[in-house]
Amino acid sequence: MDATNPNGAVRIQLTSEQAKNIKELIGRDAEAIELSVQELEQRIVPSGTISDPIYGFRLAGNCNETLLTS
């Protein structure tokens, strides 16, 4: 990464594997992800939920969900 730029956005350079995965997911080429501070704020999970591992709070556990196959 990549520092925070002058307007406060956070830019994260993707590895080639991450770029490939993201292209598969969204259908577009991408070299980096850039999020503004406001976008980052919007993506914060409300605190207090069981699956909310914001640092300094209780760690979150995974779920062992069964997927049925023959």
Binding site: M1, I44, Y55, F57, G61, E65, L67, S70
Partner: protein, 277 residues
Amino acid sequence: MELTRAQRIAHLAAAGNRYRLEGRPTLAEPLLREALELTESEFPGDRDRLAGALNALGLLYKDLAKYDEARACYERALSLLNSFPDSQRADVATLYHNLGGIEHARKDSAAAESFARRGLEIRRASAPADDSTLAGDMVALAAILDGQGKFDEAEALYVVALGILKKDPVANARELAVALNDLGANYARRDRLDEANTQLATAVELKTRQLGVQHPDRALSLNNLGFVHERQGDIDRAAELYAEALRVFEQSLGHDHPKTRDCRRNYERALAVSSRM
């Protein structure tokens, strides 16, 4: 607005975690990796921050089926916490729980059971009997026992856990849906198909409300409901459910993820049976 280093790390972690919870792990990976690297460089002596960053990345790696990487994260976090006697026992219990989840995903039932029982033992010593996290540990262990064919012990754990979780169904909605999915799968494996159908249909309904229709966790329960319909002889409905689940798995997890591959096998089998009818 200028962010402090701590704020930037917390924001990256939160944004990555949000993507993960939304069922888009690919988008979460660069954010959570970056959060860990920054935590290592900026707060090398802060074991709680480091354990948090490692656990968050471990959860994500499990979703991405990168099990070796996930286990390494959890073991490193556990080593950090275990080296300090005043560490939160709840966090240590959770790390054992998560290690059990990795081995369960890798189908090493013995290792998974050992980790899960250790986590449950620590939690029981440090949490009240009606704690929802304790219920989550029970559900996780029960799923591991199901994988070993220990259905009766698993069912008993699900029933106790559901009793705890239903006391506050709003706060525990996510865990409740997981418990219903897994109990439904337990019944399906024992050919208790009507009961399985009821539990799984409720799990799908809950997940649809909580997560929306594009989430891979909902797709997992759709797959299971399809499996029950297939066993009940309604092959056309089974194929429909498998097809919808497969579409979501492919879009959210990719074509080669183990869940996508398992669901595709189910779908192709249902189509083959349907074509012979």
